[in-house]
Point group: C2
């Protein structure tokens, strides 16, 4: 009655896909990049939540404000709807991802927690139900259910969220050799603040351009058209408004493109940026150029080379 689950970091708002496209990340060096949650049914003993790991200090002191606690709350609520009485659970969150970084830290915690809980209860819920709960939990922190981080955190891959009655994300193909560069500056940008700069409405022509740009990106991925992919890997909606919140953005993006990136934009709502490279060698050069540009803007940053994580949330031995 004990399980330990991992869920990867993710890029939400994957450039062309504001609120609609997200990618799960796996570091090239084989390490893990994401939070881990242990869950244990404690029988009649009291449950609780412990937070450990390098980023534990940046989380709220009160465990009940922790997203993992919200995830447990939603999970228990759903069990009761099915006529099951939830037992007390002891949770340990190993907080590895930096918060407010644009790397899907909330989604990683939520996906790991739900996966661990589903395991200790012998899998009562389908992936679809877990996704629904994860979106709801994410909504409690970012002010509205968004699935572009939780879907890849749970399911892996590059996921397109299509609006519809049933929430089934669509797994898109991706270039096998492409390397994703993540550059994480020493800045924090709360999602709510990044949301606040977005307009409530968009001109019809921009709406058409953004939609067809995303559609063309999807076509490029299926057709394995690298040049078209590169042309469409851009954010017409959020980036123009959000980039001013990230010191050095223009210079870092320009450095990435100058160094050969197929595209470069904010990861999630920032402040991290991601870029897509053709190969590991190019990725190394691009990461260096981006970190240099941040440094010239007076911001320290860290680069990482990743591929798509095909699996998403999973149990660890």
């Amino acid at each position: 009655m004990k399980a330990r689950a991992y869920a990867p970091a993710t890029i939400g708002n994957f450039a062309a896909g504001f609120d609609a496209l997200g990618m799960a990340l796996a570091p090239l060096d084989g390490s893990l990049l994401g939070d881990v949650v242990e869950a244990e049914l404690t029988g009649r003993n009291r449950g609780g939540l412990l937070v450990r790991g390098p980023m534990a200090k940046s989380l709220p002191k009160n465990p009940r404000e922790n997203l993992v606690w919200h995830a447990l709350d939603l999970f228990s609520h759903r069990l009761r709807r099915y006529g099951l009485e939830p037992a007390a659970v002891r949770l340990i969150l190993h907080k590895n991802l930096p918060v407010c970084s644009g790397l899907g830290s909330s989604a990683s915690s939520i996906a790991a927690a739900l996966t661990a809980l589903n395991a200790v209860y012998c899998e009562p819920f389908s992936p679809e139900t877990l996704l629904e709960m994860a979106g709801e939990a994410e909504g409690r922190v970012s002010g509205g259910a968004h699935y572009d981080n939780v879907a890849p955190a749970l399911l892996g891959g590059l996921q397109l969220l299509a609006p519809g009655e049933c929430l089934t994300p669509l797994r898109l193909p991706f270039f096998e050799r492409a390397v994703v560069v993540i550059v994480h500056p020493e800045l924090q940008l709360p999602t709510a603040r990044a949301r606040a700069v977005l307009p409530r409405s968009l001109p019809l022509s921009l709406c058409v351009a953004a939609g067809s740009n995303l559609a063309a990106l999807v076509h490029a991925l299926h057709a394995r058209d690298r040049d078209l992919f590169s042309e469409c890997l851009r954010d017409l909606v959020a980036e123009p408004r959000r980039k001013k919140l990230v010191r050095g953005f223009d210079a870092v993006q320009a450095a990435a493109l100058e160094a050969g990136a197929l595209g470069c934009s904010l990861s999630g709502s920032g402040p991290s940026l991601f870029a897509v490279a053709d190969s590991r060698r190019e990725a190394d050069r691009i990461a260096g150029a981006m970190c240099d540009a941040f440094r010239r803007a007076g911001v320290e940053s860290r680069g990482m080379l990743c591929r798509t994580d095909p699996e998403g949330a999973r149990l660890l031995p």
Copy 2:
């Protein structure tokens, strides 16, 4: 120094793809559905434009207001840019398509005219240049360059227009056996009037939903996922505003879906509707149900069964 060109009718605003997706049509019975333009260099004699065909009467009396004349004007202007002096040309337009029908009548005339002109001048212009001119000519009638009719009219197939520096439409795959039902009611709806009911801006959430719906439709076509295609074959942007301009719309759409259509929406800006069927047999039933529904609303209509025209504008012997 004489050429005769045909260009097919088209569905613009192909449901999910407002202003971005269009399909060229070829009737199942092997007949042609589109306008024909003959062009002849007259040497030193005077040029001119004659209009013939069943729909000739619905065009402006003054040939200089005719779109084919605009196409000639743009073509000649472009020749001069290249240092060539255009000769006098005699044009005959066989106007077969009904105007203001939603079937891309303007685009058909323009595409046929440009193709015939390019032929008599020994192909000075590339397809890209012809497309640019066609969009400009279309803009003179609909109040802004739109390519979702002219691109398939010139190039055939199902074409996605992606925004970008170079205007290269993307040919999407389509279900091979699918049949497209066109129902053309005895109503006229000028494009400018249908444009006037559109909002200038859309809420951000609707913009995201419409964009990801189009992207999911493109994914469905590549993945040959019929159910997903059916779910995404809907217009979240224009149809809700425009349908009130077409008497009986709701009943006709409901009849199509009830009869098994994968989707049904306005063709272009209406008043014609199109529906997609799995097979010829289904298409027959759907066309019948749609015409019946129009009749109950007091509108006579005509149904046609089509496939995608793979070729687009072409010379006739």
